[in-house]
């Protein structure tokens, strides 16, 4: 059934994908089966279907086209703008797309805090709110070449970006804003790689207690998938990994997913684990202790620690030669694959060489700027036999297309070019010098090749030497 509540947009279709994915679906499936749920804003069909299979669902959307499509699937639909939401109440409100797409172009444009107030009012006493909040300073924003305040999409009719001061900027402020509305946070998770389609959610406690290395690696791999070939300012993998290791993981996450409830209720209605990955909890799989191999290798390269670098390379090639450095966690001398399901890469060393070169990282072999030469050196440093690796070629994995790396490559190329030019000049001078020496030697050989000539030239040399010496004395 569809109810038009006012402010609906008759011919509008959302131009950005709805919130969803396997992980968000898992989260909503943890709601009690008998709960009446309002799904506020665009969410993907699978998520709504999963909820509808459990109990009564009402969807709130601003697009009439989408409202019709939803109604056709059998769920109740409210179509219109958030301020028109009336006195109806639900056991749970799911707003995993955030509050940015709840108001239509018609009528008041609520800011973040006002939107939260309306969503809260839609809860019955003791009701539960599932809310995603985008982090305006999250990794996805920090690496985005486009500014949130200059978006030209049809949906960006009010591109406030980070200028909505009511939107909380830290996990602590988010909890405080919820408390202002009488909402108690039961569970709080930092999400990667994007707020609308997370594949990794962890609690700040998990980030603090670790294993930080593995969690940092997981954020990096989540971002690697989402940002393969995407244009970015800088590599989001390094940024998030450094943030997690520095204790700023939650603060720089793409967003936050919070489960909160209204009084009176003492126990939360849904229980979520500390780490959610892929399509649900880790389950039996424990996260390995230790640091990501790629980061350890880079650290050894940057600090010029060749002994450590050789140890890592040797251990890697002995333990998991076909796993890439970004998929291995190292704990002392133990090398463990982070995700054992990733396809084998016989050219793993070459891929790391490529990371060194394209990332512009300082490393112990700066004069070797060719991928094949650097791979061959790494191969030798790993203690592998033979001069050239049998497997040298492979498909290069898609990696974030980073502006910072472009800059670095430009700088490196300019330097190489300048070096090549100076080298040409150097050889030119050397050649000229050698040519002169050769000419002199040839003249001497010619002169000394017959006896009379030899005597004559010897005499000439003697006279010339005397004249030179006299001149020198005269100068003194």
């Amino acid at each position: 059934m569809i109810r038009l509540i006012g402010g609906e947009m008759p011919s509008w279709t959302e131009d950005q994908p709805a919130a969803g994915g396997a992980l968000l679906r898992y989260v909503v499936e943890q709601l009690p089966t008998d709960a009446e749920v309002l799904v506020a804003g665009p969410h993907d069909a699978a998520l709504i279907e999963a909820l509808a299979a459990r109990g009564p669902v009402t969807c709130l959307v601003r697009s009439q086209t989408e409202a019709n499509a939803l109604a056709a699937t059998g769920v109740d639909v409210l179509c219109g703008s958030l301020p028109k939401l009336d006195s109806e109440r639900w056991d749970a409100v799911v707003a995993l797309d955030g509050v940015g797409r709840l108001c239509s172009v018609e009528g008041p444009q609520l800011d973040w805090a006002e939107s939260l107030a309306v969503l809260k009012r839609a809860l019955r006493p003791g009701g539960t709110l599932l809310l995603t909040v985008e982090n305006a300073l999250g990794v996805h924003r920090l690496v985005d070449p486009a500014t949130a305040t200059a978006v030209q999409d049809d949906s960006a009719w009010r591109p406030l970006g980070e200028f909505d001061d009511s939107r909380p900027g830290t996990p602590a402020r988010l909890t405080a804003r919820l408390a202002d509305e009488g909402l108690t946070a039961d569970w709080f998770g930092a999400v990667w790689p994007t707020p609308a389609a997370p594949t990794l959610i962890t609690t700040p406690a998990a980030l603090d207690d670790g294993p930080a290395g593995a969690l940092a690696a997981l954020t990096a791999s989540a971002l690697a998938v989402a940002y393969a070939e995407k244009s970015v300012l800088s590599d989001p993998r390094r940024l998030s990994s450094a943030a997690v290791r520095a204790g700023l993981g939650a603060e720089l996450a793409a967003g936050w997913l919070v489960v909160a409830h209204l009084a009176p209720r003492t126990a939360p209605v849904l229980q979520l684990p500390a780490v959610l990955l892929g399509d649900g909890p880790l389950g039996e799989r424990a996260l390995p202790e230790g640091r990501l191999l790629e980061e350890l290798l880079l650290e050894a390269c940057l600090s010029g620690d060749l002994p450590a670098l050789r140890r890592l390379l040797t251990g890697w090639m002995a333990a998991l030669p076909e796993a890439t450095a970004e998929n291995i966690v190292v704990d002392h001398d133990t090398f463990v694959a982070l995700d054992p399901n990733v396809a084998a890469a016989p050219d793993a060393l070459r891929r790391f060489a490529r990371t060194l070169l394209t990332g512009g990282y300082a490393h112990p072999w700066p004069a070797f700027t060719e991928l094949s030469a650097l791979t061959a050196i790494l191969h030798g440093a790993a203690g592998l036999p033979g001069d050239y690796p049998a497997v040298m070629d492979g498909e290069d994995p898609l990696v974030p297309d980073s502006r910072r790396e472009h800059e670095e490559q430009l700088r490196a190329l300019r330097r190489e070019l300048a070096d090549a030019a100076s080298r040409a000049e150097f050889y030119e001078k050397l050649l000229t010098k050698r040519e002169k020496e050769l000419q002199k030697a040839r003249r001497q050989i010619a002169a000394f090749s017959d006896k009379a000539g030899y005597r004559f030239v010897k005499l000439g040399y003697g006279v010339a030497r005397k004249a030179r010496n006299r001149l020198r004395k005269g100068k003194k």
Partner: protein
Amino acid sequence: MHHANHFYGHAHVLAEYCGLDPAKPPRIDGYVQHGWNVVDGLGPGTPYAPGKPIFLWSEQTRRRAWSMGRRQATVIGAPFLYLLEFAAPPVDPVRRGTIWYPFHGWERQDVEGDHRRLIDEIMATEQGPVTFCLYWHEYRNDQVRATYEKAGRVICHGYRGNQWLDTDIRFLHNQLAELRAHERVASNRLSSAIFYGVAAGCRPAVYGDPMQLESEDLSTAERIRRQWPELHGKHPDPAAAGPAALAELGAGYLASPAELRTMFGWAHDRAAAAA
């Protein structure tokens, strides 16, 4: 690349380590540090082809080279350490006395100082027999050699070579054999010989009139004394002196033969193409 690569038979030792003919080392596509110094590892005034790799002994030297604008440096450790990797053990393992390296001049700078007084101090300090090892420059000076011959055995490891000519390619081999025959290695200046001695199992000492090169600025010599006090004195503590000496040689940083072959441009296909 540069004739200094062949000094002391360095290129020859490295070729042997890489499994190539030590008599005919292929051209090294870069510059191998030929002696210990406290600058960028290259000899002063070495004409450098920009962008070519510089192969240095130690990480400390690499950092210093970087600070001096040398960007293409790779640490490989001293060639002497490579020799230790494959040299046969000494025939006679007994060590006796001290091998003493008086600070040497070179082709363009003579050393100034009183050799006689230095010898007296050495003989008063050393317990066992003393072997004096002179650099070829002093060794060929009959007067200087005779002064030392009065006090002990006098040797010379050979001629380091110049412009690829007359290089004694067994220089380091000779030096290793002599070092292994002595308990102590000593000099009046901290130098490669002291470091090599430590690597070859000698206890080091640096004492006596440090002498002076013609028109030498002594600030560097003084800096060296300040930086490595653990290596100076008549009887430095080997526990502190040993690691300091080995670090200067780049112990622990040696590259595998495969790495060296690639870095030097000695990999099989390239070496074959160049031949």
